[in-house]
Subunit: 306 residues, 2 copies
């Protein structure tokens, strides 16, 4: 297997430019897809837009677009699926920030939805973002084949559901009250962050009708990437500052949550993240130059601040 390319400044610039481009594209798509505030219930539309347009790296849309491109699917074609996944990711942040969950006042340096609006509106805006994701995927504009659209709907529901992302958050909420083994923590992360990463990459293969072997490969790439991402995030929680993070630093430690950093230590976690980044990149070696940005991404994420 080829080794992952070593990071250098030019590569990072290319990747940063590509990330910015896909972020802009998916934001334009979401602007067209989300309802404009109207009627007596306009407040929920405002909160949906506030949550979605609060910035963010738009990593999942990048994955959808670039994985789809490996299988000949145009950006235009893949954008609706990317938007749907970003809507689901955003809903999960809105609900996770609620007082009864992680109780966060800030997200990317701005008041969280329940602080900017109120708790009821935050619950409803999250519900609505989750709901619209399925509406977007089921629409004929997402793909000519209704079979493909149904597969996207079903797989997104599995990735986001009680045995995916929601299950991960459930474990996370109970984590302070339990002794989690390293395997438990890995499962938590795999469900909470990994499941939606996996679907983002798999969706590219589904849209391109690339077959189950490629779907499996993209899921594996995403699983490695997602775990590396989560470790990098946990490292930032320990090593970053609130100002730099745009959210409260040291929160996981304060809440007594087990993370891979608390288990492996800072250096051990860094090594594990680097190894995962390399594994992820190697999985795409067969795609040649078309996969270069996807191969660089894991290392870029791991190196971002940690």
């Amino acid at each position: 297997m080829d080794k992952a390319p070593e990071p250098d400044a030019t590569q990072d610039t290319h990747l940063a430019v590509a990330l910015a481009k896909s972020a802009r594209q998916v934001e334009e798509a979401l602007d067209g897809l989300l309802p404009r505030p109207h009627g007596l219930h306009g407040r929920v539309h405002e909160a949906m837009r506030y949550a979605i347009f609060a910035g963010g790296k738009r990593l999942r849309p990048f994955l959808v677009l670039h994985c789809a491109a490996l299988y000949g699917v145009s950006e235009k074609r893949a954008l609706r699926t990317a938007a749907a996944i970003e809507a689901v990711h955003t809903y999960s942040l809105v609900h996770d920030d609620l007082p009864c969950m992680d109780d966060d006042d800030l997200r990317r340096g701005q008041p969280t939805v329940h602080r900017a609006f109120d708790e009821a509106t935050a619950v409803l805006a999250g519900d609505a973002l989750l709901t619209i994701a399925f509406e977007i995927l089921a629409d004929p504009e997402t793909h000519d084949s209704a079979e493909i659209r149904c597969r996207l709907v079903a797989r997104l529901a599995q990735a986001a559901g009680s045995n995916g992302m929601i299950g991960g958050q459930m474990i996370d909420m109970q984590a302070p009250h339990r002794a989690l083994s390293p395997d438990d923590v890995a499962l938590l992360q795999r469900l909470k962050t990994g499941a939606l990463f996996e679907f983002s990459c798999e969706a590219g293969a589904i849209l391109g009708q690339a077959g189950s072997e490629e779907e499996d490969r993209m899921r594996q790439y995403a699983a490695d990437l997602g775990l590396a991402f989560q470790i990098a995030d946990d490292l930032l929680d320990v090593t970053g500052t609130t100002q730099r993070l745009g959210k409260t630093a040291g929160k996981d430690v304060d809440q007594g949550k087990a993370t891979l950093v608390s288990i492996y230590g800072i250096d051990g976690a860094r090594q594990k993240a680097a190894a995962l980044a390399e594994d992820a990149a190697a999985l795409l070696a067969g795609h040649g130059g078309a996969a270069t940005l996807l191969q660089q991404l894991p290392r870029y994420i791991v190196d971002r601040d940690s």
Copy 2:
């Protein structure tokens, strides 16, 4: 147009038996479709099941099954769609009961999910019930045609989304702070209760590939039925007792919420509900004897306790 049949005791018995039968069927279906509690995240599965199996009339599943039967769709065939809609209805109750929404401790005489578990689990269980509804609909077992499954997904998302049920709840949450006109209150009810009733009936026509005229007719029947149902519910809030309701009586009045009862008065609301029940029944006259139970249902609901 034919007049709605006058209610009598024998009819009511037939209807009660049919309601009990479809309730049993959909509960069996849901038992097979919802995950059994397992793993570190089993708590969310337990809460989903607690919410779903807390009883209830299962009116929406009855509508799906009986409307589908008008177009030759077997109960077995329509059950998955009925289960999906009941999951969405249940999620809406779980979230509406939250402290930041209606703050209800009791639902059908039992502790609400956030009281029996905790708030975070209630938010997650609601999210998971909403999510699984789309997974159920998108599965090939729901209908042979992927086009039909996609239409069910898209229409459910619209009915449940920010311009449907969620929009209605958004208006309801703001109602104590606003002066709502009779039209506003009618819109609130149409979104909050009507949208999912409409989809329940329309789904029967979609499953039976009956065409847009029949879909429209079923939606109109459901709109009349849903409004009659909501008026009956509001009347019960005023005239019922907490013990009889299994939830806190007088809540709407205490919270200063405008309802059709507060606008039209008790007698006016009763008359309006009776007129709607008659309109709904008349819409199905063309279906002959096959629609008898559906024709009796609106009157049965209006007469239940009010």
